[in-house]
């Protein structure tokens, strides 16, 4: 999977694309930790529009970002999840912990 970034007015957007499984999650977490340390954002959006596949390892990534943003005193949310990640998010009930924003 790939992670690209956008940063504007203190908000870091992480654009996740490809497939996020356990194999990819370890590298993704490391990369996201580095990006949060680098930008120290006020808010962080996890954009999942380009994520073709995600399993419960993606839930672990979302929880980790949410906790890290709480430590930084900021907010985290999921943005525009594609259909398959949305089903995993719904099944895990993670939307009760991390909000979902739809722009489309």
């Amino acid at each position: 999977m790939e992670i690209s970034t956008g940063f504007e007015a203190g908000r870091l957007t992480l654009y996740l694309s490809g497939e996020l499984d356990h194999h990819e999650a370890r590298l993704a977490m490391r990369r996201i930790d580095e990006l949060l340390d680098e930008y120290l954002p006020r808010d962080c959006a996890l954009n999942m529009a380009g994520l073709r596949f995600m399993d419960s390892s993606g839930i672990a990534v979302i929880i980790r970002v949410s906790r890290r943003m709480q430590i930084l005193g900021g907010r985290a949310w999921i943005e525009d999840p594609a259909r398959q990640p949305q089903r995993v998010i719904d099944a895990a009930g993670i939307d009760r912990l991390v909000p979902i924003a739809m722009s489309r």
Binding site: H22, R87, A92
Partner: protein, 146 residues
């Protein structure tokens, strides 16, 4: 239920095989003409079962994982993911949402997702003898295209 077709795969518990396992499952299931949503559900459930075997059955070694898929009479797909690893002491506890003994990249939601995406989920396990996860899903027959 009468068996109409099957495949059996065997691979080592390397995390790079997670993507292979779900791609193989999707390719086999394609003959039932599943919807994109059904295919996504199957791929997700297989990914969870195989990842559990990789992370929990063989935490410090590489072991054998087998995946058997059958098409049963009436468009039902059965998937059995089996390992010969350390097994699960308490299956009910392992299936509790958010419970995990894995690393930080595990959320404890694997069995919950398998259970909600498949019609049937059955787990058999014995300490030091391995674990077998059996899942079934009915693939809804679709009207033929005109």
């Amino acid at each position: 239920m009468k068996e109409e077709n099957y495949i059996k795969l065997e691979f080592p518990s390397r995390s790079s095989n997670e993507a292979f396992a779900r791609a193989a499952a999707a390719a086999f299931a394609a003959q039932l003409d599943p919807t994109m949503e059904e295919l996504g559900d199957l791929r997700t459930a297989v990914s969870e079962a195989v990842t559990n075997a990789i992370v929990h059955a063989y935490p410090n070694s590489i072991g054998k994982i087998s995946m058997r898929m059958r098409i049963l009479e009436g468009s039902t797909l059965e998937i059995v993911v089996r390992d010969w690893g350390r097994g699960i002491e308490d299956v009910a506890q392992a299936m509790t949402p958010l419970y995990t003994s894995g690393g930080e990249e595990r959320s404890g939601m694997g069995f919950t997702i398998m259970g909600s995406f498949m019609d049937r989920l059955h787990v058999r396990s014995a300490p030091d003898r391995g674990t077998s996860v059996t899942m079934r899903k009915l693939i809804s027959p679709r009207a033929p295209r005109p």
